[in-house]
């Protein structure tokens, strides 16, 4: 069990890569479908033939009638169709309710499964599914490298509560103007769309410009700044996952106070002092980096209070030592 938990971070990277890969694959499958529907293979341009052939090879084991069967897999993480099951981001539902000022039940129900998962796993979407996270984490690696060569990157800290104001402002703007404002500033929605635009339509659109600015914001201002301080989806997930069941816990008897967990946490949390809070997205990076396996999952709806310094650390040994002397 411990072995599996230690390597969950790699599993998470696998999941993220799979999701980004699917977002890239789906537009190509759509192109293949449209070529198939046109029944005109001979009229395709050479590069279109390459797409047709490769997608045919890829999808052949799974579908009989690609023109219709591939309709079962559409959309992005913002809202998608998975073999007849429609799934949506809870933020899409919140935005849509405020923009339309009415509740459309079939759409509300599409967010039910993500909502239940969020209540159990907390802000897991941000770490495990969000396709923008994949790029933001790579961007953070770049930031670490830039820091190493001596550039002053992402060194500021802002107020974590800012994103809740963004969420509230987004709801107000959506309701006032009758349009879903979140869709324009929510990175996973933008990424999903823009990948589709760039592959199947004319190219990147305005959303990509915004996304590049968020990458710059992360580099110049604050580490993973957009996710931590601005993202309205992160705010919603944090609120929903406040009393999440599954959370990370530090075992004080095996902790040696090395603080690697605090360094590796991109959300700037404080695992060393048992301070995970609602911001933790269960990404397991701290578990993977812990040299003494002191961090692991636990089922509890609240974080434990600060348990004191780790028993393998110097501070604790000093305390014990002084006790022995008495």
């Amino acid at each position: 069990m411990k072995y599996i938990v230690r390597h969950l971070n790699k599993v998470r990277w696998g999941v993220l890569m799979f999701i980004v890969g699917m977002l890239i694959l789906l537009p190509y499958l759509h192109l293949y479908q449209s070529y198939e529907a046109a029944h005109a293979y001979d009229l395709l341009a050479p590069n279109e033939k390459v797409i047709y052939d490769s997608m045919e090879w890829l999808s052949k084991p799974f579908v009989k009638d690609p023109e219709h069967d591939l309709d079962n897999l559409k959309g992005t993480t913002w809202s998608g169709t998975l073999f007849g099951l429609k799934l949506s981001d809870p933020l899409a539902v919140v935005g849509q309710i405020s923009a339309g000022r009415m509740i459309y039940w079939p759409f509300l129900l599409t967010a039910l499964i993500p909502l239940l998962l969020t209540i159990v796993f907390g802000r897991f979407f941000c770490g495990w599914i969000c396709p923008a996270t994949f790029i933001y984490e790579l961007n953070d690696n770049l930031a670490a490298w830039l820091r190493k060569i001596g550039l002053p990157v992402s060194k500021y800290k802002l107020d974590k509560r800012m994103k809740y104001y963004v969420l509230a402002a987004g709801i107000v703007i959506s309701a006032t103007f009758g349009m879903i404002a979140f869709a324009a500033i929510y990175p996973p929605a933008i990424i999903g769309r823009e990948i589709y635009y760039s592959i199947a339509l004319t190219g990147f659109s305005t959303g990509m410009v915004f996304f590049l600015f968020t990458l710059l914001f992360d580099l110049m201002v604050s580490r993973r700044g957009f996710c931590r301080y601005v993202c309205p989806g992160g705010a919603l997930y944090s609120l929903l996952g406040r009393f999440r069941l599954l959370r990370i816990k530090r075992d004080v008897t095996t902790c040696n106070d090395c603080a690697k967990c605090n360094v590796v946490c991109q959300f700037g949390l404080d695992p060393l002092r048992d301070n995970f809070s609602q911001e933790c997205n269960n990404c397991t990076a701290c578990i993977a980096v812990c040299p003494t396996d002191a961090l692991s999952f636990t089922l509890n709806i609240k974080d434990v209070k600060f348990q004191g310094p780790g028993h393998l650390g110097h501070e604790y040994k000093r305390e014990i030592g002084s006790n022995d002397a008495v």
Partner: protein, 196 residues
């Protein structure tokens, strides 16, 4: 950023967009003639319902659905549209099936439900441009129409007459051999605007 400044920035954005109402919804731009996907709600309802997930475009087998950037104002950002002359709708009704929010209604692919529910626009013939009205029998639009004799009929010399059944799919406009096209879709939202 301080919280006070942040709230101020939000308020300023709100006021600015209130002032620039025609930026938000550039409704007075007749040169941009687009229709919404088949089964879409009326323009304002559509914009408030659509969550910009892009699935309608992703499922369209004819790849006629494109997405706005800022051409039609901020409110239309990333919403789907069709330019009939570029690629017209074939009324396959898949976009309505896949739309999660009901911004595009789910409509059965059957003539009567399409006639009742699809309101993309109406075709209009420009008799000064139409070849059949110039004595050269053509009739291409009639033959392209998926609802022939319900949406369009031909008279003498294949002269097209648009009927009330026209749903505005735009296949006639797409197929018109005259340049510029002699038959055009007047989008539903434009028609409503013209009626007042």
């Amino acid at each position: 950023m301080k919280r006070r400044n942040f709230v101020k920035a939000i308020a300023a954005t709100g006021v600015a967009s209130l002032l620039a109402d025609n930026v938000l919804a550039a409704k007075n731009n007749p040169s941009l003639r687009f229709v919404r996907p088949p089964g879409s709600l009326s323009e304002d309802d559509f914009i408030s319902r659509c969550i910009r997930c892009g699935q309608c475009g992703e499922i369209c087998p004819n790849r006629c659905i494109k997405f706005f950037s800022f051409e039609n104002g901020v409110a239309s950002l990333d919403t789907p549209f069709i330019i009939p002359r570029e690629q017209a709708c074939i009324l396959c009704m898949k976009c309505g099936e896949v739309c999660p929010t009901g911004a595009i209604k789910t409509i059965e692919r059957e003539m009567h439900s399409i006639l009742d529910n699809v309101k993309m626009g109406k075709a209009r013939v420009d008799v000064n441009l139409c070849l059949s009205y110039q004595g050269k029998t053509c009739g291409v639009c009639y033959r392209a129409c998926p609802l022939a004799d319900v949406a369009i009929r031909t008279g003498m010399l294949e002269q097209p007459h648009v009927l009330d059944g026209c749903v505005g799919c735009g296949l006639c406009e797409r197929s018109c051999i005259q340049i510029p096209q002699a038959i055009r879709i007047i989008p539903d939202h434009t028609r409503k605007q013209l009626k007042g």
